[in-house]
């Protein structure tokens, strides 16, 4: 569903993104990994059209993202933000309903749609609280409900981008949100591209990883194959101890 085809993006002479051909198919959870300043968020900005690559192109559902109609693209590609500041005293329900912005939907259908998605993300009980009074984890889940509403009229399986979704969360919330997203991959065939900092979370939840360093995509593969102490030392300058749990799961210390 998403094909990043040899893009090159320079800003002020500095290469921020340089990729081989990368693919993401529906039902896949792919983590984007790399040390600070490696250009992980640049990749997200290129996919969401905030930046335009100088060479190469990004195909989404077979069509160049730049050629998509903005509203249509919004119905098929959602971004879960990392910052969660909302101005004015909107309630959780109102924030979630903002997800209907790009949809063609009658006013009557909105309450049910919002309710279904808030139940999915376990936030329905918060609906009448002001968004700003929620905890970090609750805010993130309300935002996820908002993005799911936004994607509820997708033409095909939608793509969900997560930009460091768990950076400000405690352990329980990190797992909660990633598990929710992981379930969307499995049950609803969503494609997910997540910028993650925590390699253990990446190892646990993703099908594939793209490792980025100094703007370049240097390695792609399954987490168990590429998250080796040697590779991690090469890019993160720290050699962890890897403890194998079983064939597909491991922990990095």
């Amino acid at each position: 569903m998403l094909a990043i085809d040899q893009i090159n993006f320079k800003l002020n002479g500095k290469t921020l993104a340089e990729t081989p051909r990368l693919n993401l198919t529906s039902g896949q959870f792919i983590s984007v990994l790399g040390p600070n300043g490696a250009g992980k968020s640049s990749l997200v900005k290129l996919i969401t059209q905030e930046w335009k690559p100088q060479t190469g192109q990004i195909l989404f559902q077979g069509k160049d993202v730049a050629a998509w109609n903005k509203t249509q693209l919004a119905r098929n590609l959602g971004v879960l933000p990392q910052a969660n500041r909302v101005e004015f005293p909107f309630t959780a329900f109102e924030v979630a309903s903002i997800g209907t912005t790009p949809l063609s939907i009658s006013k009557k259908e909105i309450p049910d749609l919002v309710k279904i998605n808030m139940l999915k993300t376990d936030t329905w009980h918060l609906k009448d609280q002001t968004f700003s009074s929620l905890s970090g984890g609750e805010k993130q889940r309300v935002q996820l409900a908002r993005v799911l509403i936004q994607l509820s009229q997708a033409n095909a399986q939608p793509l969900l981008l997560l930009d460091e979704p768990t950076s400000a969360q405690d352990l329980g919330h990190q797992h909660h949100i990633l598990k929710l997203v992981r379930d969307l991959c499995i049950n609803a065939d969503f494609g997910v591209l997540a910028v993650l900092h925590d390699l253990n979370l990446a190892g646990r939840y993703s099908d594939y990883c793209w490792v980025i360093n100094q703007g370049k995509t240097v390695m792609t593969g399954k987490p168990e194959d590429i998250l080796t102490p040697t590779l991690i030392e090469q890019y993160w300058h720290y050699r962890p101890q890897r403890i194998e749990h079983d064939q597909h799961s491991f922990a990095l210390l």
């Binding site: 249509q72 919004a74 959602g78 933000p81 909302v86």
Partner: protein
């Protein structure tokens, strides 16, 4: 924190009733009190050319030519300033942004003052709103550029730049009053105080057209303003062309503020106070906030004008003085409330 919201329909009905009461008071009360029924008949006669009322000629003039346009002008300016305030706050993503406080009104006043002083009288009345528009537009664009930072809009810079802008425009207007001839000077002082004194049906017509057009386009962007509140990149990801949206809103706000300022001078703080009150009652959803702000603005300016006429009767206070008297402490209260976010 659970919030309680009132029903949109109930609140609108209450406001409409208040608006009606305000209109009747505004038409019948003043240094000269007139009977309600006869006054309404006089207006009816004024419109249809009938002769049903039994008021004396000079009383009819007071009702039809003075109080009626004044009442309508108060409602329209109140409504337009209030929605302009609501949209400015949405655009800058901050509840302290008000066309008066961040210098837009003063920019409009500066543009208007230039046309009043430098152009011959017959031209000035036509050009004043246009000159005010350019003053307001330049100020808004400047403020927006100033306050933008990678981390979002900086309120502190916005408010300080507003202070600088207001002082600067004030100084130039002061300079213009020195070189003004007698007629211009009279126009300038009258209008600079913020008064509904000069109400004519021509202004009422211009205000009505401006309000309808600006309000229509504001309402079309109400959903986008909601999306903008959850963040600029987020609004973009929701399919909104944020740059175009901002430009559209800046131009519309400049038009609205410019026409208001040209008609009545600077009537401060309505744009700040009204959306804030409405948000407390109905919440921040712009689809409800904008219509109710318009109604509340109309009601409040009407009340302010009635009290400005009655407090020192037969003398009359400028209505801008009334709104500022109540608005400024309100602003101080908001700052105290927001102190944490400012620094």
């Amino acid at each position: 924190m659970t919030v309680r919201r009132y029903s949109y329909h109930q609140v609108s009905v209450v406001l409409l009733v208040l608006l009606m009461v305000g209109m009747f008071l505004s038409i019948t009360k003043g240094p000269m009190s007139l009977p309600m029924g006869q006054s309404l008949l006089a207006i009816w006669d004024g419109i249809w050319g009938s002769e049903l009322n039994q008021l004396a000629e000079y009383q009819q003039v007071v009702v039809v030519d003075l109080r009626l346009p004044r009442t309508l002008l108060a409602m329209l300016v109140g409504a337009l300033m209030a929605v302009s305030g609501a949209v400015t706050q949405g655009l800058f993503r901050n509840p302290l942004a008000d066309p008066g406080i961040i210098g837009i009104s003063m920019g409009a006043a500066l543009g208007a003052a230039f046309s009043i002083v430098l152009l011959p009288v017959f031209l000035a009345s036509l050009v004043t709103p246009v000159a005010a528009f350019f003053g307001a537009l330049v100020t808004t664009l400047f403020m927006y550029k100033m306050a933008q930072s990678p981390a979002g809009t900086s309120v502190l810079i916005l408010l300080l730049a507003g202070v600088a802008m207001t002082a600067f425009s004030g100084a130039i207007i002061g300079f213009l009053t020195y070189i003004a001839d007698e007629q211009s000077l009279r126009d300038l002082t009258l209008w600079n105080m913020g008064t509904l004194n000069g109400a004519t049906f021509i202004w009422v017509g211009l205000l009505a057209i401006t309000f309808v057009v600006v309000f229509y386009f504001y309402l079309r962007d109400a959903n986008s303003l909601n999306a903008l509140a959850i963040g600029e990149p987020e609004a973009r990801h929701l399919g909104i062309d944020v740059e175009k949206l901002k430009m559209r809103l800046i131009i519309l706000t400049a038009i609205g503020v410019a026409v208001c300022v040209s008609a009545t001078g600077i009537i401060g703080f309505l744009g700040l106070v009204v959306p804030h009150l409405v948000r407390l009652v109905i919440g921040p959803d712009h689809r409800l906030l904008l219509p109710l702000s318009a109604l509340t603005g109309a009601v409040l300016l009407l009340i302010a004008d009635i009290s400005a006429r009655l407090l020192m009767a037969p003398a009359e206070l400028p209505v801008g003085l009334m709104t500022t008297l109540f608005g400024a402490p309100f602003f101080a209260m908001l700052i105290i409330q927001q102190r944490k976010q400012l620094f």
